[in-house]
Amino acid sequence: MLIPKKYQTITIASILVIVSLIILSISIQRPGDTGIFKRLVLEAASPPIGAVNSVLDTVRDVWKRYIFLVGLEQENRTLKARIAQLTNELNESRELHLEGLRLRELLAMKNTLPGAVIAARVVDRENAYVFKTILINKGTSDGLRVGLPVVSAEGVVGRIVDASWNVSRVLLLTDYNSNISARIQNGRAEGILQGGGAINCALKYVERSEEVKVGDTVVTSGLGGVFPGGLILGTVSRVDRKGSGLFLNIDVSPSVHFSRLEEVLAVLPDSEKSP
């Protein structure tokens, strides 16, 4: 260079600072004037800025979409939880509604019974092949005792065979040990309804001369003093007149669906009032 090395730095610095200050003073004096160099820079910078911003916009869009999807997933999870909660509430409401209907039927049943009744809820079922019992949530402290008949809105359920303070066991009329005095509602033929275990019961000791046909309603006769008379036990499902015995072979289908039983009434004798 023409300038001595000793003064090179100061010379270059002076030139650059002076040029910068000139640019600055021109710019301050003419604020609205873009100037040729500035225009050139802007034109040159525009494509790379546009390209970078385009890439950034794409990245930003992808990110926003990702965030949106994350939010959507969260919302989906919340809504699913809400649906589960509402389904539970709906089920509870349905259960309450059905319970209300059943209780209404029980109440109607109660009004037809001669004595006082004690309502109880079925808390357990013993559904072995031979033993057919249910457990109810009322016991001696509620006024129940062994031997009391138990009915539902559909008909006779059975009788209490064990009574604790707060729970009682009811022998269903389908149990082999169950024997209930019964009568054909229309023909007035009398017999003993014995439990048949699995499904049907058998109406025994009905004389061959009696007019019994399939579909006849079987009710309690009231004899024996355990069950009041006139309570529905079931319907005749088969009558067998073959054979040489003295009595007919009659199958009876219980009117009560024991597997669906939830509420029952224990019937107190005429002389007693509910506690």
Binding site: T9, I23, V41
Partner: protein, 165 residues
């Protein structure tokens, strides 16, 4: 010679990168002015002519692209370059703590310089509301400055910036 040919393109890309990508780091609230670190680094490493031209071009490009009053950053960058060069003769400038402190001072002074120019020529007090941003920006830049020094050092050979004078 290749340095002077590459310089405008390199400076333009650096400024574009700084005004687009790097502004995202702080959600567009403030930028990371790596061009200033480049000027300081040039002051420590490059000869007066190459570094001076680099500082001038970077400052001018930034003035044009950021929309500030043309000449403000040009003047400031040239001043910072020669100040850095003068300092590099007096102190050992390779220590990271010194680099950070010097970068912080330069970055914060830039805010003050811009505020003073606006105050004198336009009667506008820009420092009132944004001095905290200047401060945070200067601190952020100071923190990144050692890393940027290492990065620029790697690019030294590529740009052919070794002192030739």
């Amino acid at each position: 010679m290749i340095f002077y040919l590459l310089l405008p393109l390199f400076s333009l890309l650096l400024v574009v990168l700084q005004t687009t990508v790097l502004s995202l780091f702080f959600f567009g609230k403030m930028g990371l002015e790596i061009s200033l670190i480049m000027v300081i680094w040039a002051g420590f490493r490059m000869d007066a002519l190459k570094g001076g031209v680099l500082a001038f071009i970077l400052g001018f490009l930034l003035d044009c692209i950021t929309g500030s009053v043309t000449g403000i950053l040009t003047t400031y960058y040239v001043a910072v370059f020669f100040l850095s060069r003068a300092v590099s003769f007096k102190v050992y400038s390779e220590r990271f703590f010194f680099i950070m402190a010097f970068a912080f001072l330069c970055a914060f002074s830039e805010g003050l310089f811009v505020a003073v120019i606006y105050r004198i020529f336009y009667g506008v007090d820009v420092l009132e509301g944004i001095y905290k941003i200047f401060l945070i920006q200067a601190l952020a830049l100071a923190l990144f400055s050692p890393l940027l020094f290492v990065l620029f050092g790697r690019m030294e050979g590529m740009l052919n910036v070794r002192e030739t004078a």
